[in-house]
């Protein structure tokens, strides 16, 4: 039984992942992402005069907060709108298979989007000695961050049959998580900041990006993923 489930997740994953690349949206999204990140990174790179990707990773949560909900908005909304949702639910698969398949496809897409930025790292090595340990842990953190935002985007997509609504809900949640620390610094007392920044994706991501991989930071992202996917499951249950 367990085997059958992983098989189904694999089939749904394959189908979903492929469908990103048959429409032009994937290429547009990836191009915009690379363009913006490239500009943000290299425009200040020579001013900083440091062989490090820290600036790139500092901007990443905000960029992901806008880009990833745009990638995930169609996951459920489109199916509900076109009516294929009915076909999907009457196939011999469980909600969990569907959610995991779609979620993993979104994460794989984020990985594909992130992969070309490794070129930045390679470029930087020509100009100074880059600390590869930090780079690797930063990419690991970036994947976790991307996965967490994908899960949130998926949840938002399950909420509405309208893709625009799904995008706005997803973006709103992701922006809050990405910029929470910045907001708090302006508005709250220091003692409260310490408490609230535990909810901030930016805070946990930056900890990982510094090169210190702490189980608390990883646990944070896994919790966000779990809560969002579980929420999507509840919504699907509720719609029956």
């Amino acid at each position: 039984m367990k085997n059958k489930t992983t098989e189904n997740v694999k089939h749904i994953f394959k189908k979903e992942f492929k469908s990103y690349f048959v429409s032009p949206i994937a290429y547009i999204v990836i191009s915009i992402f690379l363009l913006i990140m490239g500009w943000l990174f290299f425009s200040t790179f020579f001013l900083n005069d440091q062989a490090s990707l820290a600036v790139f990773f500092a901007k990443l949560p905000a960029a992901f907060a806008f880009i990833i909900p745009a990638v995930t908005m169609r996951l459920f909304s489109e199916e509900m709108n076109v009516g294929t949702y009915e076909l999907l639910l009457t196939l011999p698969v469980t909600f969990r298979d569907i959610i995991m398949g779609k979620f993993l496809a979104a994460v794989a897409f984020v990985a594909v989007m992130l992969a070309p930025t490794l070129v930045y790292a390679v470029t930087v090595t020509f100009m100074g000695s880059l600390d590869w340990g930090t780079v690797i842990s930063s990419y690991f953190g970036a994947l976790l961050l991307g996965a967490a935002f994908s899960a949130i985007g998926l949840l938002a997509s399950a909420m509405s049959r309208n893709q625009v609504v799904a995008f706005i809900i997803g973006m709103a949640i992701c922006v809050c998580l990405a910029l929470l620390t910045d907001f708090l610094l302006y508005f709250l007392l220091d003692s409260l900041v310490d408490f609230f920044q535990y909810f901030s994706a930016q805070y946990h991501f930056q900890n990982i990006a510094k090169g210190t991989i702490d189980s608390r930071n990883i646990l944070y992202f896994l919790s966000v993923i779990f809560v969002a996917l579980y929420g999507a499951n509840l919504i699907m249950q509720e719609k029956k």
Binding site: S19, S23, V82, G83, T84, T90, L91, P92, V93
Partner: protein
């Protein structure tokens, strides 16, 4: 084979299906008839696991929809009304995907897809995307979808709607041919078609069972009047 027991479904305050009970025997072709909005599609959706029953149950073989939904889904091939299918997928890719999900073994997959393509005359469109297909072809892809993996039970929601006369005859032929070894529930608004294809007839109206007739009983009742008259009598009589 399939036993509907006091099946009831509410949408908010509106009762779409109201204590419907009937049984479908193995190998039967059942015509499930009724005016628009009678609750046919809702009944199908509960049977196929897309919706949940408010009360009552359906038993397929020894499985109950409330407990063994996945097992029931494996037994049923379903063609929803107007056959919604992923627009951006190639017909071949789509059938391949459904074959994977339905657990068709890798070795027998290609012959099985070929067989269904022959049966539903899909050979010339296998490498077109679904969005390029005419309505008739889409409907046939939907039928191939329902037949994938040789399910024991077929549920076809208005399989001939929107087809031209030639295609209607073809589709009816397909149903009759596969009906020899399968249990089929299907609905249509063309009563002569139902009479020519089905062994039994269940007529529902406003969510309630209006008639449950074998072909012999129907022939008896329609000796001195048309099936259309009988249908109007059964489904409009309680209006006045």
């Amino acid at each position: 084979m399939i036993k509907f027991e006091n099946l009831t479904r509410y949408y908010g305050d509106v009762c779409a299906v109201d204590h419907v009970s009937f049984e479908v025997k193995k190998g039967e072709i059942l015509g499930f008839l009724g005016p628009n909005g009678a609750g046919k599609t809702t009944t199908y959706r509960i049977l196929t696991g897309y919706l949940q029953a408010t009360s009552g149950t359906i038993k397929v073989k020894d499985y109950d929809i409330h407990e063994d939904q996945l097992e029931i889904k494996k037994l049923i091939g379903y063609l929803p009304e107007s056959a919604p299918i992923y627009h951006d997928m190639l017909v071949y890719d789509y059938l391949n995907y459904i074959a994977d999900i339905r657990g068709v073994a890798e070795a027998g997959k290609l012959p099985h897809i070929k067989k269904l393509a022959d049966l539903c005359s899909l050979n010339e469109v296998m490498h077109k995307t679904v969005s390029q297909l005419s309505k008739g072809y889409r409907q046939r892809v939907g039928i191939a979808h329902a037949l994938m993996g040789n399910p024991e039970i077929l549920v076809l929601d208005e399989p001939t709607v929107g087809l031209d006369p030639n295609q209607i005859v073809d589709t009816r032929e397909i149903i009759k041919r596969i009906g020899k070894e399968k249990t089929i529930i299907f609905s249509t608004h063309i009563l002569s078609e139902a009479k020519a294809t089905c062994d039994r007839f269940v007529i529902i109206n406003k969510g309630k069972l209006a008639a449950d007739l074998t072909i012999d009983q129907l022939k008896d009742l329609t000796k001195d009047r048309s099936f259309e008259d009988l249908f109007r009598n059964l489904t409009r009589g309680d209006n006045q």
